[in-house]
Symmetry: C2
Subunit: 229 residues, 2 copies
């Protein structure tokens, strides 16, 4: 089983807002809503990856893209801060809390199936995130291992290839219909996990892309229930 | 900390001999010493990788090389067996027992440092080996992640690069002086773990390459003792 991570396994928005609050306090910045800042930072994520996906830029690790988009955002807000503090804040994506069911759900799923990441996060980011939250991955695959960002087909197909299995023997678990649709297009099986609080309760932009996925659950523990029965 | 695996973390010779015995019994083969067969199979390992290292052949996963060398060896012995059984035996390298101290030692080291593989085994092989023996890796790196076999420098340097750290911040743990020498040549730190039974008690061919390594221990638990003190 392969997992999307940001939003599916970890609650990036609450965690980035927490890190933003600490950063603003240390930098003496007032008047910026930390959740809005988290949304803005995340908003720069797809365009940054798109430059790599389109072939205009070689594959560049997400840690690097996050640093660049953070600097853009700080400039937009007129914030000047100590470079070391900015570098540390840029790595906030390595310190995101799992959703409350994630560790228990992954641990149960791991007892039956190999569990790997199929995230756009790079290996070092995913490794530190796993250690931060206790995520028991068998391997860290996805964008860096395949050299391309989702939803390009090679991210899904290359992950199955590295695992030495056919695409139909790999199931993507994700909270995003667009991700699952791309995986299904490559022949993978699909499991949707609903994460209504990913954007703080705001509906997801890709809800119109919903399909009848192979599995659907409200948590990773519920997904484990369904796969054990 | 990055770990060599075959011989350092797992006892390949005893495990392959066990699998060979079962294979010979099922195939009705008599008169071949299973430990000698394990040594012969392992003996074809370096030449097979050398074809990739020399540039004569693109990087090819060890699972594939093991299948090829097994078929060569079976032909040499005049053994004809069911292809499915041969395919399963070729994957015996995914089912090797850890040395008695490995899981406890790795678990203790993981509490302090990220622990990754820096092995010539491919990702799927390493993943199944980890699940077979309960090896708690944070990530599976090494040959497949870097696209080259040890002891080429890029295997060591590329692993550090993926981790986002300088070579001197990575320590290779290995039972083979030749591996440690190559790692040191790339600027990595080095930890030697003595595994006198790797070849069943026969002295190691690379013992003349011994150096004064940064750390040395008789087991991974002893290495943990030294690094915790």
């Amino acid at each position: 089983m392969a997992f999307d991570v940001f939003g599916t396994v970890v609650d990036w928005r609450t965690s980035i807002a927490r890190e933003a609050s600490a950063f603003f306090a240390a930098a003496g910045v007032a008047g910026i809503d930390p959740h809005a800042f988290a949304d803005q930072w995340r908003g720069l994520y797809q365009p940054a990856m798109e430059a790599c996906r389109s072939g205009g830029r070689p594959y560049t690790r997400l840690d690097v893209l996050n640093r660049e988009t953070l600097e853009t955002l700080l400039t937009d807000h007129g914030i000047v801060a100590d470079p070391e503090r900015v570098a540390d804040f840029a790595l906030a994506w390595r310190r995101l809390d799992p959703w409350p069911d994630s560790v228990a759900g992954l641990t149960r799923l791991k007892a039956r199936f190999p569990i790997v990441t199929l995230s756009n996060g790079n290996v070092a980011l995913m490794l530190h995130l796993a250690r931060f939250g206790g995520l028991p991955w068998d391997a860290i695959l996805g964008a860096e291992a395949t050299g391309v960002y989702k939803p390009l087909p090679q991210a899904y197909l290359g992950t199955a290839d590295i695992l030495g299995i056919a695409p139909e023997d790999l199931c993507l678990v994700a909270a995003h219909h667009s991700d699952l649709a791309a995986a299904r297009g490559c022949g993978l099986r699909t499991a949707y996990v609903d994460r209504p609080l990913e954007l703080g309760g705001t509906p997801k932009p890709d809800r119109r892309a919903a399909q009848d996925w192979d599995f659907a659950a409200d948590s990773l523990t519920e997904l484990a229930d369904k796969l054990e029965s």
